[in-house]
């Protein structure tokens, strides 16, 4: 078999791996949504390209020079969006580790595939219309071609940089601070009015592509070569780590949470909820990202006035309460899919588990409540809004999210990173959207009709009703789960380890 044939074979296997993922295969909505989102973002980029092209046309300098001076922002956006979608070669190649294919060859294949990925061309939806308006009329078609090739090479370089950082992040999460710091520093420099020392060199560099200057292409080729070689070395090292991956096998402190013993079986399920979050990388990360968002928005609202509009205050208050719920309850039962057979072999275990999840997720809201207290003290968020949203979350929004327990049937890995493309079902997406935006509309109507204090009373009453009846609606969800148990268990089994 020639190397090219081997390359095509691996490429075909990888394509099938994504296409035949159990959840993707069964979920027609996800297929539609995936294509819809691609078309949606492409349309936005097309629109921006045209609008920006016309907006900058006729300016004192060529339109594309204005864009080129700030091309770095495009690279920043491109870099961080890759985190949600792209796996590292080390993660992808370890399944071939024992096949008679040289690992170095496999790694080269994946790096080349990454460079030739269509994702690197996605910005063409923005650059082509922009170029047609802003480059071709000024510099001609040959400049447009060189300019586009130059940008493509920049995105290839950016993709390789992402891979490098992503691999480092697998060693230690804090490595993400390295690109973050660089991006913040460069963004700060680029935003200093009249003192942007980077603008001229950036414009000259990109203009080099448009004028087909050899030095511009040599620079980018050199940069790509360096980062490609660095990636190859790092990823090969990571491949061995991935194959022989062994997490820390001894717990430093196996806490027993004995305070929960007094609650009997419920206490045991509560302990399980806590340990689920403490001991599983994927779940822990999800939890801390949610917590980070709460802190970020609270700080922004406290120290700045950029979110001082009525809608944004309301949104942040609600968001602080519901974001953890949306993130963790949106995938309710998906982590339990890993040991669902064991749970199902015990009487009422799912009901008890649901109750424990409800109590745990309700108790955890003490954190956003604490973060909102300073905002109440300085008067940015009213006491009534805070209490209204807190009770509404526990008593109304949580019951909505818990409905997913009866329908979720895709097992999510506890400890390994999953690309977001493989997560989410129609039901999860719809409920998450409704939960994030419907309460805001209701609040507007309620406050408009009843005033800024009484407007929140319906929220408090509804929340209170939901809390006091939680046994009933949880039991109802449990019954519906049991009615769907065969379908759900089949889904959990099919998606386990896939």
């Amino acid at each position: 078999m020639t190397k090219y044939q081997l390359y095509k074979l691996v490429e075909k296997t990888e394509t099938l791996k994504d296409e035949r993922h159990p959840m993707f295969e069964r979920n027609k909505f996800m297929k539609f949504l995936a294509w819809f989102m691609v078309a949606y973002y492409a349309a936005i980029l097309l629109f921006l390209g045209v609008v920006l092209g016309f907006a900058l046309k006729g300016d004192y300098s060529a339109a594309y020079h204005r864009l080129d001076g700030g091309f770095f922002y495009l690279l920043i956006i491109d870099f961080w969006t890759r985190f949600a979608l792209q796996e590292t070669p080390a993660q992808k190649t370890h399944c071939y580790a024992l096949l008679p294919i040289r690992r170095s060859f496999l790694m080269k294949i994946y790096l080349i595939r990454n460079m030739l990925s269509l994702g690197n061309l996605f910005w063409a939806f923005f650059l082509i219309p922009f170029g047609l308006v802003g480059v071709v009329p000024i510099a001609g078609w040959d400049a447009m071609l060189g300019w586009l090739i130059g940008y493509w090479l920049l995105f290839v370089f950016n993709g390789l940089c992402y891979l490098f950082v992503r691999a480092l992040c697998m060693r230690h999460m804090l490595w993400f601070l390295a690109p973050l710091s660089i991006h913040i520093i460069l963004a700060c420099v680029c935003t200093i009015p009249d003192h942007n020392v980077l603008r001229v060199p950036f414009v000259m560099f990109i203009n080099g592509f448009a004028t087909w200057d050899l030095w511009a292409f040599l620079i980018i080729a050199g940069l790509i070569s360096i980062v490609l070689w660095s990636n190859y070395r790092l990823q090969m090292g990571m491949l061995y780590n991935e194959i022989g991956k062994k997490e820390e096998v001894q717990l430093k402190n196996a806490s027993q949470f004995s305070v929960l013993n007094r609650y009997g079986a419920m206490g045991e399920y509560l302990k399980m909820e806590i340990k689920l979050r403490m001991r599983n990388k994927q779940v822990r990360t999800q939890f801390f990202v949610g917590l980070g968002l709460i802190i970020f928005f609270s700080i922004m609202l406290y120290f700045t006035d950029i979110y001082d509009g009525g809608f944004m205050k309301s949104f942040i208050c609600l968001y602080n309460y519901i974001i953890l719920g949306v993130m963790t309850l949106g995938t309710i039962m998906c982590y339990e899919g890993n040991y669902i057979d064991g749970l199902m072999a015990r009487r009422d275990s799912i009901y008890d588990l649901l109750r424990a999840k409800y109590y745990f997720n309700s108790a955890i809201l003490i954190l956003p409540f604490l973060f909102i207290i300073p905002l109440m003290i300085i008067g940015k968020i009213s006491v009534w809004m805070n209490i209204g949203y807190l009770l509404f979350t526990v008593g109304v929004l949580y019951p909505c999210l818990f409905q997913l327990a009866a329908y979720n049937k895709n097992t999510l890995p506890l400890n390994t990173k999953l690309t977001s493309a493989k997560q989410g079902t129609m039901m999860q997406n719809i409920i998450s959207m409704v939960i994030l935006f419907l309460p805001l509309a209701l609040e507007k109507i309620s406050v408009l009709l009843l005033g800024p204090v009484w407007g929140y009373i319906p929220f408090i009453i509804l929340g209170f009703i939901g809390i006091t009846t939680h046994h009933l609606w949880l039991r109802n969800i449990y019954h519906r789960f049991m009615l769907r148990r065969y379908v759900n268990m089949e889904g959990f089994r099919a998606s386990r380890n896939s």
Binding site: K246, E247, V249, Q250, L251, K252, N253, A254, Q256, N261, G264, A265, G267, E268, Y269, K271, M272, K275, L276, R279, N280, N338, Y339, I340, D341, G342, M344, A345, R346, R347, D348, S349, D352, L414, N415, Y486, M489, E490, R493, R496
Partner: protein, 243 residues
Amino acid sequence: MNIIINNLKKTFGEKVAVDIERYEIHSGDILGLVGNNGAGKSTLFRLILDLIKADTGNVHMAGVVQGNPIDINVTETEDWKDWTGAFIDESFLIDYLTPDEYFHFIARISNMSDEVLDSEMKKYEHFMAGEVTGQTKLIRNLSAGNKQKVGIVAALLLHPQILILDEPFNFLDPSSQNIIKHLLTSYNQETGATILISSHNLTHTVDICPRIALLENGHIIRDIENTNGEAQAELENYFEVEA
């Protein structure tokens, strides 16, 4: 506790996984299920445990519980879970707990006190050979053999009247295989529990199972009495012919 299988059929596409017209496993039996890969052993266990849906038919459990005669269809109630212990594969284990935490979890959700649990665990100390309990290792970090031990002990922990173990000898070292054989036979003698095991190890199966069912393509093609080990020759003959 008797297990009665009636007209039980399960197919996966064209493949018939289980097709049993009627079969009864009597209270106190140790039944060994043998058959080649894909014969339907694990699927039958999953059907008995209501983990997959049968196309037709049902599984009943009948016997006496706390002095009351019962006869239940496993799909219609969860009562049977109180007297049934099972270990099929790793999907029965909560792998981010340590073995001790997992045993405590099972005991406490079943209202077993810590004292009773401790005395129960002593029975399995020899089997676990000091490598399972008293560790701060999570279950997912244990070797395959030790995970198997956790699953088997967890299934036995609550004194089930029906015990179902899929390939219990897998991954175990020779000493542990012999210990588990002894544990199962003595548990059966002491409690009169009905035990179902599947295995590819004919010797072990013949050693401990007075009754052996041979599965082929989902059908029980032979129901072999093995009170004196006479099944060995018949099984060897069958599998050699197949080879």
